[in-house]
């Protein structure tokens, strides 16, 4: 079998596996639903997620250890992930193939020639790496000289990957300057301020990107008629932007094949840096050949196999091996006979990218969204870490939103700030309910533990967690200007009815409000009172919520009414008013109050509130357990 056929089989297999996991992330107990399927496997294989969470947190969470296997295999085999496994890469290759049909050899060679712009992805990688790094710097800064020296060496190694960086005086000079900058910076970091590490890479990291696009755009569209992934139509706020990014990245393949892989992909850049050193690589076995350019024409990575090859760009599509009429291209341990070239990364640009990355989180946080101007609408799922720790872990992959049974978990839009873009936030109006009391699904599917895998007991504050109490997402606040019993003399208390905690966090106080004051009694007999002026709506006062109050202050429930006569329930102590006396019709209102000590911020009240637009009871993130600084109550 031809090697490219094997490669295609592998690509199709892993793409199908990926799609399968997207479907299998359905909450349920049937064999094709979420019951042990490793639905995070692709996210875990992606070493960029593992590396960056290692940088931000100092640990590799559970399944992210898979990323190490990918890294080691890349050191041995080269960028096998890009060419053989990555589902996003397979999609790009397919669209690129569509766009390349009927193109002449010359056109193909032109489209697949190496370009300077391919270096952009390395700068993006440097940017994301640096954006994630300030906490690490801080930690290193705190551990004295030897560690700082080690850090400087590490950075020097990064430099070594750049052009002219290896060995020599300039190398040691750069390392020294960096070490000094480092210590100074660490000292500054120790003094606080808006600095911090942020896992921004999830925005462009290909596996989170394609997972998010599947979960929040393609699957909801495909499932609207099928109803496999969810029992009813599912909505995701701002899905259009996620879809646009996905569609644009696919359509760009019509311009240049594998556009995303060549120019944008920060994961590809990481593999490229390692792929340079890989044990096996693609290359020519002899420098001379017939120069037919067939290999260059079909090269997916734009790494110029016919000439001086760029191993960092090679995605191991192995098309060159397949098409070479002279059979001078091989995949072996020897470097190409025609020579190899490292990525043309100037030190200055890498430093600029690193600097920009370091500056990005402080710049994003200068707006104060993580500090004094925090957004109370940002209600995070149960088990979510405190905001800065959360942002150091969240990949924006959308797995939590995919698995959420009610659809209350939504991708945060731009209004929550750039740094929170596409991270999970609760929107109580869009799903089928608020956050369900006994559900902890999101934390158990989160690949990076930005949402901790809590137990139901911990969520409810039972058993061993009784002392710390339930996990609160926020607190419900009643908008008395919109609430029917508060503002409009209408009974309601749907919020109280649906509050799922016991005892309820919403309680009521009874209030009798006069709706028809000062009615004159013209005739009264037992519980039957005729009043003037009449003009009552027949039956309207007989709903069980209206009372008649006599001058002596005693009141009786109205059972029924005609246009001018009230029929009252007999009550002990009720004295029939004499003609000429005044009576009032009152409405009995149960006005809701929230007990913040009991409210867990689940948002079920908000979801059920009959004021259908802007709800009269709304949950905001005050008193959320995850953020001490947002607490509301005295302990």
């Amino acid at each position: 079998m031809r090697i490219v056929t094997v490669r295609r089989i592998s690509q199709v297999f892993f793409l199908c596996l990926f799609l399968w996991f997207c479907l299998a992330a359905t909450l349920g107990e049937r064999w094709w639903q979420l019951r042990g399927w490793p639905v995070n496997w692709f996210l875990q294989l992606d070493p960029l997620t593992g590396l960056l969470t290692l940088v931000t947190t100092g640990t590799i969470f559970a399944g992210l250890l898979w990323g190490l296997a990918t890294l080691v295999l890349t050191l041995i085999l080269g960028r096998f992930f890009c060419g053989w496994l990555c589902p996003f890469g397979t999609m790009h290759q397919f669209v690129g193939w569509l766009g390349s049909r009927n193109k002449s050899l010359k056109e193909r060679v032109a489209r697949n020639a190496p370009r300077r712009a391919q270096m952009i992805k390395y700068f993006l990688l440097a940017f994301f790496l640096a954006a994630a790094m300030s906490d690490l710097l801080l930690r290193l800064g705190q551990v004295q000289w030897p560690a700082a020296l080690a850090g400087a060496l590490l950075m020097a190694l990064v430099l070594a990957a750049t052009r002219r960086g290896r060995g020599g005086r300039s190398f040691w000079l750069a390392a020294g300057v960096l070490g000094a900058l480092w210590l100074g910076y660490s000292l500054l970091l120790g003094r606080g301020g808006p600095l911090g590490a942020s896992l921004l890479a999830g925005l462009l990291d290909p596996i989170p990107l394609v997972t998010r696009s599947m979960n929040l755009v393609l699957l909801p569209l495909a499932d609207a008629p099928l109803r496999l992934a969810w029992p009813d139509a599912r909505y995701f706020q701002g899905a259009a932007l996620i879809g646009a990014v996905f569609l644009a990245s696919l359509l760009l393949n019509l311009w240049f094949p594998r556009f995303y892989c060549r120019f944008v992909c920060p994961l590809g850049a990481l593999f490229g840096l390692l792929g340079r050193f890989s044990l096996w690589r693609v290359g020519k076995t002899q420098a001379e050949c017939s120069s037919c350019a067939a290999c260059d024409a079909y090269c997916e990575g734009a790494c110029r196999p016919q000439g001086v090859i760029q191993p960092a760009e090679c995605v191991l599509c192995l098309n060159c091996l397949d098409v070479c009429p002279d059979q001078v291209i091989d995949y072996c341990t020897a470097p190409s006979a025609a020579g190899e070239q490292a990525p043309d990364l100037s030190r200055r640009r890498v430093l600029a990218a690193l600097g920009t990355g370091l500056a990005a989180p402080p710049l994003l946080r200068l707006g104060g969204l993580l500090g004094p101007d925090w957004d109370p609408r940002l209600v995070r799922p149960p088990g979510a870490l405190a905001e800065s720790r959360f942002l150091a872990r969240c990949l924006r992959c959308g797995q939590c939103m995919r698995v959420c049974p009610t659809g209350v978990l939504q991708p945060a839009g731009l209004s929550f700030g750039l740094e929170a873009l596409w991270t999970p936030v609760l929107n109580m109006t869009i799903g089928t309910s608020g956050c369900q009391l006994r559900c902890v699904a999101c934390g158990h599917v989160c690949p990076s533990a930005a949402i901790r895998p809590i137990s139901v007991q911990e969520k409810l504050g039972q058993g061993p967690f009784a002392a710390q109490g339930p996990i609160r997402l926020g607190t419900a606040f009643i908008d008395r200007g919109r609430c029917l019993p508060w503002a409009m003399d209408r009974p309601c208390i749907v919020c109280q009815e649906n509050c799922p905690v016991s005892p309820k966090a919403i309680f009521t106080r009874v209030q009798f409000n006069p709706v028809l004051p000062g009615l004159g009694v013209t005739r009264a007999q037992g519980g039957e009172i005729t009043v003037s002026p009449g003009g009552l709506k027949p039956g309207a006062l007989g709903t069980g919520d209206y009372y008649c109050r006599a001058q002596d202050g005693i009141q009786a429930r109205i059972l029924a009414n005609t246009i001018d006569t009230l029929f009252l329930a007999r009550l002990e102590g009720w004295r029939t008013p004499a003609p000429g006396q005044k009576v009032s019709v009152l409405v009995r209102l149960q006005q809701p109050y929230v007990d913040p000590a009991r409210c867990i911020g689940c948002g079920i009240c908000q979801h059920e509130c009959p004021v259908s637009g802007l709800r009269a009871i709304r949950v905001t993130a005050e008193n959320a357990s995850r953020q001490r600084s947002h607490s509301l109550l005295l302990k």
Partner: protein, 328 residues
């Protein structure tokens, strides 16, 4: 592409062809204008489309029967109650299609008493199938997420295991209905899909405290047949329950008070909210069933306004004497 009109070749045939084309265009534009012209503009949203109407599911000859069973186990209590009313065969004939309207409102485990107990569902499904029912459908439009409600309450697995079909509400399952002479139920979405083809309807409801209507039993249970933003009806909770009683005439209504949710209802949430009341009430008169059931919550029928409204609307009677069965 050749030019449309090569000037040197313009002849009579060409002219006629073009004239014909223009004529056709003129005719098409005329027909389109004539057919599609709307001088009035769209009507307001007051338009009412076709409405569905729920039939009466009452079984002839069984009117005004109520049984009250004292017992601490649901399955024998249900059987004994049905025996007292003439046996399941009095209600379900071979070939019948039966719908069980359960209360699956909340994603809450059975022990917390906020939803119909799965044991009761299992037994009722089994009895219906044994009596020869062709099909048993179990349905509700819950308040919390529907799929979670049916799974967590245990109703879904129990019903499926017993051989029933569980139908979750989907957007297509709702069709507008209007109650004849109704004040509240006008052009309102009704969970009609699962009731298609059904000729027997049985309500299975737990006995629950309700802060707004005082009690939630078999009549309040029909709330789960409404769709849309039904919570606006809470402004007139008693009125809507009475209208639901008029809208739905079941074959049988069952109130499960073996354990009652006596406080913090209708959601519950703690075992402390549950009280063993060892009573199962069933009958063909839903008002009578509810009137007996509110006693388990420590209420008299006079304290529960919806019962009075339902009696006034002719839904049923408060003072039916129940057939009493005592189980050990």
């Amino acid at each position: 592409m050749s030019p449309l009109l090569p000037p040197e070749e313009m002849d009579r045939r060409d002219f006629l062809r073009r004239a014909g084309l223009a004529g056709l265009g003129l005719a098409a534009a005329g027909v389109l204008g004539w057919r599609a012209y709307d001088g009035q503009g769209p009507l307001g949203s007051g338009e009412v489309g076709p409405q569905v109407k729920l039939p009466s599911y009452a079984v002839p000859g069984q009117a005004q029967k109520v049984a009250l069973v004292k017992g601490s186990h649901r399955v024998p209590a249900l059987r004994a109650g049905l025996e007292a009313l003439g046996g399941i065969k009095a209600f379900v004939q071979p070939g019948d299609q039966v719908a069980l309207k359960v209360n699956a409102a909340f994603a809450s485990p059975p022990a917390l008493g906020a939803t119909t107990h799965p044991e009761l569902v299992t037994e009722m499904v089994r009895l219906c199938l044994d009596a020869g029912a062709k099909r048993v459908v179990v349905t509700d439009n819950p308040i919390n997420d529907p799929a979670s409600c049916f799974e967590l309450s245990g109703i879904g697995p129990a019903a499926r295991a017993a051989g029933a079909q569980v139908v979750l509400p989907s957007a297509e399952a709702f069709q507008p209905t209007s109650l004849a002479g109704g004040r509240l139920i006008k052009d309102w979405p009704l969970l009609y899909g699962p009731l298609k083809g059904v000729n027997k309807l049985i309500g299975l409801a737990p006995v629950k405290d309700h802060h707004r209507s005082r009690a939630s039993v078999t009549m309040k249970n029909w709330y789960g047949l409404l769709g849309g933003r039904r919570n606006i009806f809470h402004q007139d909770i008693n009125g809507i329950i009475a209208e639901l009683g008029r809208l739905v005439t079941p074959s049988l209504a069952v109130a499960d008070g073996v354990a009652s949710l006596v406080k913090n209802g209708p959601t519950g949430g703690s075992l402390e909210d549950i009280k063993p009341t060892d009573t199962l009430i069933l009958g063909t008169d839903q008002v009578a069933v509810d009137a007996l059931a509110v006693g388990l919550l420590g209420l008299t029928p006079a304290q529960v306004p919806y019962l009075g409204l339902a009696v006034a609307a002719g839904v049923g009677a408060l003072d039916l004497k129940p057939l009493r069965v005592e189980l050990g």
